[in-house]
């Protein structure tokens, strides 16, 4: 069996039909990781014991002939911002290099309860802060499609693991594009659900009002399957919504003819790589051929999105990261004589440059005298951006845009220019700010063979339409 092309659907079928055992499948993925991950760096921690125990459990059920759970034996990888009981959870940061969580993230627990086998924790930008995975406190991740290039970020490890066939699927987190942008860079599917659709319990927070957990997969169908299992109200997360969860596997099969697709002009302006533009426009044309109606629209506040995002996200981050103080867990500097030294040195030595930059920015925008001019104003702009989307969704059923202005860039290319790096999120931060769902689905390649992603955004809690369109497009494109 070629495990590198295995999808959730086909892995599930292989185990169901006893063509392989869950243990054998997990073992072969570990062999693949052993062979390939030295070059890629997608994993930070392998959870071999837990995975094999879980797989053995599945095999025992199969041996007895009892009905198997829906994700029985499906190997998945988890971005290291999600905690698992008894497993090291670093969030890509040195400050948590020794942190072993005593409890499970709800989304992971739900997947395991459905029979999934967690292979390990994937590399990411420190506290999910970054667009290239170069901010990992451990080592960068290389794009499996071109090892000299970044996989995108911050869920670069998850995207690379799936793209390289080291896992069937993965969970990532998206705060400003961190699922969709790496999916686009690595040529996989990345789905960010509506804010509140998936519990954040056990997700190490970067920016609480913007953080989303979502799947990275090889196919849209797989994304639908994973979403079905992680979605839904969780009493442990007050912001998780009491909204019924449809059967997404059925949702994607519904027809798309007559759906109206908005094409916002603000997403096709300066800075958009011509090859990306061409691929995305071709994709839109394809969707028109399938029977969708293409409608030019405007999202007028788009140009304020990146600054707005960096005010709100850093403000929340400065507070969320305050708990990493060396007092109770995590890194504590050995060179501290006083309490204040312990705080300063532990945090100075434990955090990387980008995390510190964002903590300082966030502290600044919340400070007395600056709060109104920055934080409060950013909240107002966020409301305007949300209204842009609401107005657009009066007229259209979904919005299509490029996921990222460029294909994957070279490692080191933007490291010294944080502003250029921040602009890599220009098409993705808007959906996080508005809380609407979005997917990135591969829509072609550059001349250099680098994947390009098409972004489809939808109404609040209408992931169904988003993935249905992505699914139909994916099918039309492949053939």
């Amino acid at each position: 069996m070629d495990i590198s092309t295995l999808t959730i659907a086909s892995a599930r079928a292989a185990i169901l039909e006893r063509r392989t055992s869950a243990v054998a499948l997990a073992e072969s993925f570990y062999q693949k990781i052993e062979a390939a991950d030295k070059q890629i760096g997608a994993f930070l921690t392998l959870t071999r014991e837990r995975a094999l125990a879980k797989a053995a459990q599945i095999d025992a059920i199969a041996d007895k002939g009892d009905p198997l759970p829906p994700l029985a034996g499906v190997p998945i990888a988890i971005k290291d911002v999600m905690v698992m009981r008894g497993v090291r959870s670093t969030a890509g940061s040195k400050i948590l290099s020794n942190f072993v969580a005593p409890y499970d993230c709800t989304a992971v627990a739900r997947l395991e309860a459905a029979g999934a086998v967690v292979l390990g924790k994937t590399n990411c930008d420190e506290f999910a802060m970054g667009s290239s995975n170069e901010n990992s406190g451990y080592y960068p991740v290389h794009n499996p499609r071109d090892l000299s290039r970044v996989p995108g970020g911050s869920s670069g490890g998850s995207a690379a693991a799936v793209a390289a066939g080291m896992s069937v699927a993965a969970l990532g987190s998206d705060t400003g594009g961190s699922i969709r942008q790496p999916a686009s860079f690595c040529g996989v599917v990345g789905l960010m659900p509506t804010y509140g659709r998936v519990s954040r319990y056990g997700l190490i927070a970067f920016a609480s009002s913007l953080d989303h957990i979502g799947p990275l997969t090889k196919t849209v169908n797989d994304a639908a399957i994973l979403l079905k299992h992680i979605a839904g109200r969780d009493p442990l997360d007050s912001t998780s919504a009491e909204v019924p969860v449809p059967d997404y596997e059925r949702e994607i099969e519904k027809p798309v003819r007559g759906l109206r697709l908005g094409v916002p002009r603000e997403y096709f302006g300066e800075g958009l790589d011509p090859e990306v533009r061409a691929a995305v426009e071709a994709a839109i044309q394809k969707m028109a051929q399938i029977g969708c109606e293409v409608v030019p629209i405007s999202l007028p506040h788009t140009r304020y999105a990146v600054p707005t995002y960096y005010v709100i996200a850093t403000a929340e981050a400065s507070s969320n990261l305050a708990r990493f103080d060396g007092v109770r867990y995590g890194y504590r500097s050995p060179q501290a004589g006083t309490l204040s030294e312990m705080y300063r040195r532990s945090r100075d030595q434990g955090f990387g440059a980008e995390a510190k930059r964002r903590i300082m920015l966030g502290t600044y925008v919340l400070s007395a005298g600056y709060y109104d001019a920055y934080y409060l104003k950013a909240q107002r702009v966020r409301a305007l951006l949300t209204r842009d989307f609401e107005a657009a969704f009066q007229r259209v059923d979904a919005i299509v845009t490029p996921t990222s202005p460029t294909p994957a860039f070279k490692l080191g290319e933007k490291c010294d220019d944080p502003l250029a790096m921040y602009l890599a999120d220009i098409y993705t931060v808007t959906a996080d700010l508005a809380g609407v769902p979005g997917v990135s689905v591969p829509c072609g390649e550059s001349k250099e063979g680098l994947p390009i992603g098409l972004q489809i955004l939808g109404r609040h809690f209408d992931e169904g339409t988003v993935i249905r369109l992505a699914h139909v497009y994916e099918r039309a494109r492949s053939g």
């Binding site: 905690v83 190490i204 927070a205 507070s319 109770r328 867990y329 919340l366």
Partner: protein, 491 residues
């Protein structure tokens, strides 16, 4: 000496103190405000903790509805307007006993505002003290700096208290003397105790108080520079600390100096306040709305439900007791000093024939004896049932006031309740018919007018005759026999 004190008083009279108080009260919920850990006091350190109250990464808060209900009930008892929608905010600061690096509190949209309570005014009558706001928040843990072998260079943390629900009650700067501040705290605590949402136990830290104090020349509108007094653990000490601070402010101003706005700690052994190093309190808390919690909505229906749980509050109770038992305001204040005493009194008053007499006995005969022995009402050898019984005995003339006092003394000496003492010590009853008849004859002879009235049909006079005969017998005549014989003689 007298002269300097007089001068001092004269100087003091030129200044008006302005005081505002911030009171923190633990709510008596079984579990913490954002997790299901127990709030029990006194458990071994760190026994009641979980990922949420430890502030572990990824853990999220879920609001305890009981805490909301208790906070709302307290706010209603303090005459506040409840905000249907209030917002939790993060108050950011670093401290080892604050695991998340922020406290979840409420800031610009608190649960309740615009309340007031009445305190007895210095010159008599009542004075309204405004309550700016009542908001919900979580408590922090405790740093233990002492008691461990390596305490000289280690601090230990007990996070059991972390996440225990608190309400903060902020008063308007309406208080004008340490005495008023003391009265305000006493009334506030009484109201909270009546609502049952807190035990207000200062020793266990379930009621804590900070005071803001400034002075201004009498007649000036603007406030002077204020200082904040923290770390005071009794109402008496607050009064003392405020006295000290007022004198200090006046002395500084009179000598041409300026008050520095700062936080000061009260040292109760010395009766003095000391400024904290200003660096430590130069805080910018960077408040912003807590994104992990939804806005708190206490809608009209829920408010109605909670309001229905409001018990009769102290002020209303005092007014009713004055009416119901024909008591003076002073008597009522004495009888309602604690809720327990008031409850016991009312129980006795309801059981007795003459509530007013019960009040007199409690105030005149019981409290004095308790005070002499340093006892609280709850420790009284004579129960309220006993007081009620004794009141009825005096009422019926069965015993005299003098005998009652003797019996009370014996009850306190022997630590026995009144019924037991009475059973043993009650005066030997006169059951000798001839002796009683003789007394009746004497009473009839001495009161011809009353006899005439009685025989003319005013049968209510009979009580008078019974009383006279009992008096003549020093309370020792058998009342039943007296009644029976009186009927015969008067008919």
């Amino acid at each position: 000496m007298a002269t300097s004190q007089d001068t001092r008083a004269a100087v003091r009279a030129h200044y008006e103190p302005v005081i505002g108080l911030e009171v923190h009260v633990h709510l008596l919920t079984a579990s913490k405000i954002f997790c299901s850990c127990s709030t029990r006091f006194g458990d071994p350190p760190n026994a009641n903790v979980c990922p949420v109250c430890l502030g572990l990464p990824g853990a999220l808060p879920v609001l305890n509805q009981q805490a909301v209900q208790f906070a709302t009930l307290a706010a209603m008892a303090l005459n506040c307007r409840i905000n249907e929608r209030s917002i939790f905010a993060r108050k950011n600061y670093f401290y080892p006993d604050l695991p998340k690096g922020y406290q979840v509190s409420q800031y610009d949209k608190p649960l309740a505002e615009f309340g007031w309570i009445e305190v007895p005014a210095t010159g008599g009558g009542a004075k309204k003290i405004g309550i700016t706001r009542v908001h919900l928040e979580e408590d922090a843990g405790k740093s233990l700096h002492e008691g461990f072998p390596d305490s000289y260079d280690h601090t230990y943390l007990d996070l059991n208290r972390c996440g225990v629900p608190l309400i903060e009650i902020v008063s308007e700067p309406d208080l004008r003397s340490p005495e008023e501040a003391y009265e305000y705290l006493t009334r506030l605590k009484e109201i909270i105790l009546y609502t049952g949402v807190s035990d207000c136990n200062m020793e266990e830290g379930s009621l804590r108080c900070d005071a803001n104090i400034s002075v201004r020349p009498a007649g000036q509108r603007e406030f002077g520079t204020k200082t904040e007094i923290k770390n005071v653990n009794s109402f008496r000490f607050i009064r003392q600390a405020l006295e000290y601070e007022i004198e200090r402010h006046i002395t500084v101003i009179e000598s041409g100096g300026r008050i520095v706005q700062e936080t000061r700690l009260f040292n109760s052994n010395e009766g003095k306040t000391y400024g904290m190093r200003s660096k430590e309190e130069a805080h910018d808390y960077r408040y912003f709305p807590e994104p992990d919690l939804l806005p708190l909505v206490v809608d009209a229906a829920w408010q109605r439900q909670i309001r229905a749980l409001l018990p009769e509050l102290p002020a209303a109770r005092r007014a009713r007791m004055m009416r119901e038992y024909s008591l003076t305001e002073d008597d009522v204040y004495t009888l309602t000093r604690t809720q327990g005493m008031a409850d016991q009194f009312e129980e006795a008053a309801r059981a007795a024939k003459n509530p007013k007499r019960v009040a007199n006995l409690v105030i005149g005969d019981l409290l004095g004896r308790l005070k002499a022995q340093g006892l609280e009402i709850e420790q009284s050898p004579i129960s309220m049932k006993g007081v009620a019984m004794s009141a009825d005995l005096v009422e019926s003339g069965a015993i005299s006031g003098k005998i009652l006092k003797d019996l009370y003394d014996k009850a306190f000496e022997r630590k026995e309740d009144f019924p037991a003492i009475y059973e043993k010590e009650k005066p030997r009853q006169i059951t000798d018919t001839a002796a009683i008849e003789k007394m009746i004859d004497e009473v009839i002879a001495a009161n011809p007018k009353q006899v005439e009235q009685y025989r003319a049909g005013k049968t209510t006079m009979k009580g008078f005759f019974v009383g006279q005969v009992m008096k003549a017998s020093k309370g020792q005549a058998n009342p039943a026999l007296v009644n029976e014989l009186l009927d015969k003689k008067l008919s």
